[in-house]
Symmetry: C2
Subunit: 369 residues, 2 copies
């Protein structure tokens, strides 16, 4: 790869649909969910190790989790843990990193990767990102496209246009974030769409120019902050400006409009990507027994290993985190999450609705959220 | 009612299909399961209060639960808590009480009633038992017949014969304990059968004569024990004789053969009987919310009241006994039993199979049984 590659990892969001395992106080990206001892965040940094040095790897996180992030990633310099004063959605988070990197290296290529996704094949992932940097260097805002398997309404969809250059890069004719269900169905059936895997690879100058065009207020705020970043006024400026930044995702703020202007490209990614959005999805990607059951043990040693007894039980996802005996009889396609203070039982096809449950708990002021 | 009525309550069995609520160390009859503060045993004694004085009420229980039984029933005289040295099934337990009562009152009418069944209408229950005492006084081994609602294979079935006398008493033409499923189906479809509710009303002399005829060894052993009961040798004789008694239920030992000899009668009982054999059954008899869910809280104050959050959930039985938040989303017809050291999840139509699970735990030497 020509030049230094900068990796940016926005680590925000509590993973509501993974409640009661994931909590506001201990979000998804800090968890070991994959049967290894690495948290999703650590696994993300490890995976990016082929592409970026620790010195050019940045994590953007919130005040609540800055300490945990810093401790989980001892190889990263202190200065590379960017702490947001408050959550302002992904455009502010990614934009902050882009502005800071641009101040250091104006034409740098950076990639942004979620802290809490799973990738099965790290080498294939690195190859796809390298292929995307070709398009990024040529001035495209690059994405990685995943072949969709079902009409998921929580993702962005990329409609492919013509090839750009001799490599794998294709122009994106349309970028549609979170389409309605019927639209998602037609996209999947057409065979012309990829899922956007929330991976963005671009030259920081190209991204910031597009941000200036589409979101001038956000751009101006980030520039003020980046300008003050290495000075004595950093905290004062951050404190003043950050709360005024528009709260919007990068998909809506930049990508949809950039695609309409012909500025977005994509490369296909076939590396076992999964956003681990809910327990059903998690059950699909982890190792299962001969009856399709998945038991997601903890590796952190916080509780004793649970006894698990699944009798005549199929395709069930069990998350034992209380040290208690967890038993099921005659159950199929169920999710059972057993934590020290809360239990969840939910069919796998209702895994998305865990969010509603958490919303309901929040409304009641329940302390278990 | 003419003469003193003696009530006998065999309190044995751990209620395996109610695991993990019911344990070998804390069996079903000691539990509050009905939303009131009385245990099933206490409710049984209360219900019999219309028919028998505490002085003529006996409980037969095992060594493990003698103290708990005695404390739950402070009104019963010490001498009326009959403690078996080891479990020898129901014929030995009920026969012991019959022999001891016979030594006190040779022609007494006694009734035997399980310690862990539910009866909704106590007055109707008392009326049925009073009607049965007519047949008992006339020399029949009386039962109470419940109109069957489904082909249950765990019960005894009574085929009715001709009326006896002017009251409700009918002779039982056939007594079949635990028929195979196909047989149970044909019984229920015929409309000629009742379930035996494990209630037996008879003159102690009639029962002991029939025991002598069908089970002479059991009869002889019980006579030796009863003879020694009020003397200094009670414990020595019990210790010697009890382990030699045939281990057999009263249904097989006496009732099937007595019915074949024309000695069994029945009266219909329509008082909301339920044997609370499993969580599904329990869910059918207790008060449910508008979606058919039943939450069986504890009244014993051992744990804090649990938060329960059932979102889009129907006909589900929740037994919260750990003080944790119990939540379910999109679940129907499920059983969720949450105790401090073990969790069970099971569809209601598999409630019988909890026994298999417990057997499997026993095989493994698991301490949670």
């Amino acid at each position: 790869m020509v030049g230094v590659f900068y990796a940016v990892i926005p680590a925000g969001g509590s993973g509501t649909r993974l409640w009661p395992l994931s909590r506001a106080g201990h979000p998804k990206f800090l968890h070991t969910l994959t049967g290894t001892s690495a948290s999703l965040l650590q696994a993300t940094v490890d995976r990016l190790g082929q592409l970026a040095e620790p010195e050019s790897t940045y994590v953007v996180t919130g005040v609540a989790h800055a300490a945990a992030v810093a401790r989980q990633l001892p190889a990263l310099p202190d200065a590379n843990i960017l702490v947001e004063p408050s959550p302002r959605d992904s455009c502010a988070a990614i934009g902050l990193a882009a502005a800071i990197i641009a101040a250091r290296d104006p034409h740098a290529v950076m990639g942004s990767f979620a802290a809490d996704h799973l990738v099965r094949d790290g080498d294939a992932f690195a190859s796809a990102v390298r292929a995307a940097t070709d398009g990024a260097r040529d001035g495209l805002l690059m994405t990685v496209g995943i072949t969709p398997t079902h009409p998921e309404t929580g993702y962005g969809y990329l409609r492919c246009g013509e090839a750009v250059g001799a490599g794998q890069v294709r122009r994106v004719a349309e970028f549609t974030e979170k389409p309605p269900y019927e639209v998602a169905v037609s996209y999947v059936e057409s065979g012309e769409y990829f899922w956007n895997a929330s991976m963005f690879i671009w030259r920081v100058d190209v991204f910031l120019a597009e941000l200036l065009r589409q979101q001038p207020q956000l751009h101006a705020g980030l520039m003020r902050i980046a300008h003050a970043w290495n000075g004595v006024d950093r905290e004062r400026v951050l404190g003043e400006v950050w709360p005024t930044l528009p709260k919007i995702s990068v998909d809506y703020a930049v990508m949809e409009g950039a695609a309409a202007a012909g500025l977005v490209g994509t490369v296909p990614g076939d590396f076992g990507w999964n956003d681990v959005g809910d327990f059903h999805t998690l059950g699909d990607v982890l190792e299962r027994d001969e009856r399709g059951n998945v038991v997601i043990e903890s590796d952190d040693g916080a509780v004793g290993k649970s006894d698990i007894l699944l009798h005549d039980t199929d395709r069930t996802v069990v998350v034992p985190r209380s040290g208690r005996l967890v038993s099921a009889v005659g159950v199929h396609d169920l999710i059972i999450v057993d934590t020290p203070d809360a239990l969840l039982v939910c069919p796998r096809d209702r895994a998305q609705d865990v969010k509603k449950l958490v919303d309901s708990l929040k409304e009641r002021g329940n302390p278990h959220v």
